[in-house]
Structure formats: C-alpha cells, structure tokens
C-alpha cells in the first residue's frame, strides 16, 4: 500500500502531466524541441529533487517517490519522463552517493532544483554493454589535472542550454574511474542532437573529449571504482526505467479505453466487441503486473535488501508491457494510431528504446540467469 504522501504526490504529478504537459508536448515532439518551460515547471514543483535530501536542496523523499512521478509523467509523455529520469538517477544520484562534501555542495542544489541538468557518460560509440573491456575513453593525470580523451554516445541531457555537468566514465591506468566535467570546459563538446525514432523532445548527444583538462579534485568517488559505482547506479536506474515503462503501458490503456467508447463500427462503439475488450484487458493486465514488479523491486531497494534480480525482472517485463501495449493500442486506433497527432502513435515510437536503454532486455535476462546461478 502506498503512503498518503506517495498517493498525494502521484495525484499531483498526474494533474501536472494532464494539465501542463499533455496540451503542448505533441508540438515539441514534432519539432524535436526540448521543452524548457515544462522542465522549469517540473523544477518548481521539486521533481528533480525527489530523492535528494533537503540539506542538498532536494525534497527529502525516496527513490520510490521518483519512480511514481516518472510513471505519471510517462503516462502522458516519455520525453519529459526520461529527461527527469536521466537528470536525477544518472545526473544527480552518483554525485549524491559518491561525491565529496565540496562536490555535493557545488552541484546538488542546482541539480535538485532543476535549474541545471546533469548527465552521465558511460556508453561509447563502440560499445555499451561491453565494459570495462570495450571502453576506449581515457583519463591520464598530468600534474594536478586529468587529461581526458575519447567519446561517448547516446547521452541524455548532455547538450541542453541548462546542462551543467557530465560524469564521465574513463579508463585510468586500466581501471575505470568517474570524473566530473563541467560544460564549457575546453576540449569538451557535445555534437548536434541525434535524429531519433522516439523520445523526440528529449536531448540526446554524442560527446567528445579532446585533451580535455579538469582538476584532479573532479574525480567522483574512489579511483578505479567507477565500474562498481555505475553498476549500482544502473541497478537503481532499471527500477526507474521500469516505472517509466509502466507509465507508457498505462497511457496506452487510458487512450484506448476512451477511444473504444467513442469510435463506432458496425453499429456500436468498438468497445462493445469482445475482440477489442480482450485486447484492452490484456493491456491492463500487463501494465498492472509490471507495476507490481517495479513496486516490489523498489520496496527491496528502500529496505536495503538485494534487489538486482527484482530490478532486472521489473525492467524486462515492464519494457515488454510497454512495447506490447503500444503495438496493441496503435492497432486499436487503426489509421489514427499511425498519425503523430494521437498519443498512441507517439507511445509506439517511444516504446522501443525501453527494451534497449539502461541495459537491453538481453542484459536483463543475463542478470536474472546469473542470479539463478547459471553462468557461461
């Protein structure tokens, strides 16, 4: 059961998504434009600071509160949901968890308020899952400075006007370390936005580092512990992506339940026909079971229990549910489902990445198998 506060938060974010996001996001999506005004409003209501303690400018909530907010946002639009997800779970959380007192003081208040966005640079053009073996980006100490060379691919929030800092994973003497690189540092640049199949109103860039120098003190967490750090970051992130996937899956149900009552064929609203009812029922069942899976993973995470398997299962089933519901929802809408002006069309385009980002479905299966004691 959700606490009164969590229920109230869900209600508030749901109202925000319906009133502030739904009426305008289609146009941003079509233009591939980052919705700064929506981001400002989400910042004002504290969504970027949900799991950040009050002493660092956050809301003092927990990671589950973030997940609930992401689900409600994604019920209406995934671009804004992923913007918050990446900013918080990938941008701010590693600094909260591994940063020094100085690093937290410097970055967290602005990240928690949404005034500034953070990003996390792990994946490279040559490989995502294949770390540490496949990583090419290097950082070498030269006196009191790190000198970074390499490039990163598919990095969310990396090139907006309000992006302030990127945590970059790099090889340091054969081990991975994470280094904070503020935007504007000479030698660091973000390419122009990718043209994507979905998430079109979110910011995704390729980053390049060319003899980019930052102070030695910008090392985030312990030297050589970057791999362990981001494994922990990604376990949490999977629960967040599962929540976002559930939101999309539920958004498809919401759209269809309304549509099948209005759309007539052969003398009745199409919701009168069992073929449609069964499809919508399956969609609702998928969203519901996926929600229970992420609630369970989040519950274990907050209780301090191992949750790697539960997070992998939640991410796997929720992204499946999103993909299946987007396909069925679009089918129910028929020709209208193929039009960008209808949300289900947008959901269809946004669903596929959920089976890829923050660990592909294959990676989730690998993790589950390992937890079952099966190894190669």
């Amino acid at each position: 059961m959700l606490s009164d506060e969590h229920l109230e938060l869900r209600k508030t974010v749901s109202a925000f998504a319906r009133e502030e996001v739904a009426p305008v996001i289609g146009d941003f999506y079509e233009r591939g434009e980052f919705p700064y005004e929506i981001v400002r409003k989400m910042g004002a209501m504290g969504l970027f600071g949900l799991p950040i303690p009050e002493e660092h400018g956050g809301m003092g909530g927990d990671y589950f509160a973030l997940c609930l907010a992401l689900e409600e946002l994604a019920r209406v639009d995934s671009s804004v949901a992923i913007t918050v997800e990446a900013a918080v779970s990938l941008g701010a959380m590693p600094i909260l968890r591994f940063g020094t007192a100085e690093q937290k003081a410097e970055w967290l208040p602005r990240l928690a308020s949404g005034e500034m966005l953070g990003a996390f640079g792990l994946t490279e053009p040559g490989g995502g899952t294949d770390v540490p073996g496949g990583m090419r980006t290097t950082a070498v100490l030269d006196g009191d400075e790190w000198v970074i060379n390499g490039s990163k691919a598919f990095i969310t929030n990396a090139g907006t006007d309000i992006t302030g800092v990127v945590s970059v994973a790099a090889l340091t003497d054969g081990l991975i370390s994470t280094i904070l690189v503020p935007t504007g540092t000479p030698g660091f640049s973000a390419s122009k936005k990718y043209s994507k199949v979905g998430w079109s109103a979110s910011d995704t860039r390729e980053l390049s580092f060319n003899d980019c120098r930052v102070p030695r003190a910008n090392l985030l967490g312990e030297f050589g512990r970057g791999y362990a750090q981001f494994l922990q970051t990604l376990d949490e992130g999977r629960v967040a992506i599962a929540a976002l996937s559930v939101g999309l899956a539920q958004g498809c149900v919401d759209e269809c339940v309304t549509y099948v009552r209005e759309r007539h064929a052969f003398g009745h609203p199409i919701g009168h026909y069992q073929a449609i009812q069964f499809k919508v029922s399956d969609m609702e069942a998928r969203a519901h079971t996926a929600r229970l899976a992420y609630y369970h993973a989040a519950e274990r995470m907050l209780a301090g229990l191992p949750f790697k398997k539960e997070a992998a299962i939640a991410k796997l089933v929720a992204s499946n549910a999103a993909m299946d519901n987007a396909r069925d929802g679009t089918q129910i809408f028929g020709g209208y489902g193929f039009m960008n002006e209808f949300p289900v069309g947008r959901f269809y385009r946004d669903a596929k990445i959920l089976e890829i980002g923050e660990g592909t479905s294959e990676v989730q299966r690998m993790l589950i198998a390992r937890e079952l004691g099966l190894t190669a």
Partner: protein
C-alpha cells in the same frame, strides 16, 4: 500579516452531480470532492502576499470530515495552519448561513485580510465574499485580478465588462479573486510531507458562540422547492451549403433570436 484563505470542497466538475431526494441538498457523499478551482488561485495569492509581506496563512474551510483532503492540499501548497469547521448542524447551509458560520469563525481566528475565490463551481451564487464582508463589517474588494498591499491599504484591479477598476480600501478587508490573478503552484513533495505536521484546528457549532437558528439548513433563507434532471440535449441543426448556406445559417440564428 495575518492572512486567512477560505476554501471549499466541491464535487469534481468532471463527474455527474446529484441532489439528494430527502432534503434536496447536494449529495456530497456520492461524488469525489476536490478543492474549488478558484480557491486554488486564492491560496496562491495568499501565499504570494505572505512571501511579499511576511506573516502567516491560515486555511479556513467549512465542510464534512472528508473536506480535510482539501485542507491538506492547501497546506501542501504552503499554507501554515488550518481551521476546519465541521458539524452535522452545519449541513445544508446556504450562502447566508455559510457566511454567518464563517464570520463567527473568522471573529475567533482574527485576520488582516481574508482571500477567497469569487465563486464556487457547485452552487455558483458568487455572493459569499459580499456577505462575509458585511457580517464582519469590513470593506469588500471583489473580482480581483491583481492585489497589492501597502501598509494598511489594499488595492486591487477589479475585473469589469469594460476593463478593470482600481479599488482601494483599508485593512482589514475581504478580497475575492478571479482566475486571471495568478498561476497556482503545484504542491511539491516537501510540501506534501510537511502538510502532515501542520496544525489543523477543528471547530464545531458550539465553538462558534453562534445563534443555532442561523446555522445549517435551519438557518438557510433559500430553499430548493423542487428539482428535475436536465433534459437531454436536442440534436443540432445541420445546414448543408448548396450555395445558400449563409442565408440558411442566418435564418437559423434569427429564429433563435441570436441576430
């Protein structure tokens, strides 16, 4: 500054609203209650007045136990404390008996300025602010799209059919607001959590030191004599344009006395 904002829980306008067959009052149990929309603007304005001038914002509501949800929403937005007027003796109040009960409560709570929405979405009488000001013996500034406090004076821009009037009065005063005045904030999670710890004082009819004959249904001056379900909307008229569409449309409008 001691700011009191009056809020009302009303039936969600998105749901079907019904009157009770026994006493012909609104069936509040049958529908979801939400904060009256204009009252959200009143809460926002009260919070802005506090942010500009200091002081405290007290939420005042009259309503059944479930109106506590509406209080919590206003507290989550940032109000400091609340007074909940709840008593079976208050059920069935019309605008006149409501204004009496609220005025008695305001006398007890004290105020420099009372802010409220200019009408509620349920009964839509729009007279409460005026009645309240009269009962309290203070100036009424209604339909405000802008409010400024300067020392002991309050100035508003009052929306009219032809533009706006600047109206000034001395404090204490009652100010009713319209939706043009601001953009209400969404409660933050910190606000939601803090709301749980904020004091809510519950007052019953006996605490008001009121004349019982003026409260609730007994004190109401208006009475619903009869009511009927609204008739279903008649089908519209479709004008097919066969070169004379304009004339036909004009004919239709003339028949309905629009032109």
């Amino acid at each position: 500054m001691n700011i009191v904002v009056c809020v009302k829980q009303v039936p969600d306008t998105a749901t079907e609203r019904k009157l009770r067959s026994d006493d012909k009052t609104l069936d509040r149990d049958a529908v979801d209650g939400v904060i009256n929309e204009l009252d959200e603007y009143a809460v926002e304005e009260a919070l802005r007045l506090k942010e500009a001038h200091g002081g405290e914002v007290t939420v005042l509501t009259m309503g059944p136990a479930k109106a506590a949800d509406t209080i919590r929403k206003a507290l989550a937005m940032g109000a400091d404390k609340a007074v909940h007027l709840v008593d079976d003796a208050l059920a069935g109040s019309d605008a006149l008996s409501t204004s009496y009960a609220l005025a008695q409560a305001l006398g007890r709570v004290g105020f420099d300025v009372v802010v409220l929405g200019s009408e509620s979405t349920d009964a839509r009488t729009g007279v409460l602010a005026a009645m309240l000001a009269e009962r309290l013996g203070v100036p009424q500034l209604s339909q405000a799209r802008k409010v400024e406090v300067n020392g002991s004076a309050v100035t508003i821009e009052r929306v009219t059919d032809y533009g706006y009037d600047r109206v000034e009065a001395s404090l204490p005063a009652v100010v009713s607001v319209v939706e043009k005045i601001n953009e209400p904030r969404y409660p933050s999670f910190k606000g939601i959590m803090a709301a749980k710890k904020k004091p809510v004082e519950t007052l019953g009819a006996a605490d008001l030191e009121a004349d019982a004959g003026q409260l609730g249904l007994a004190g109401a001056w208006s009475e619903v004599v009869d009511f009927a379900v609204a008739p279903p909307r008649a089908a519209g008229t479709v004008v097919k344009d066969e070169g004379d569409g304009g004339a036909k449309a004009a004919e239709f409008l003339a028949s309905k006395k629009f032109i």
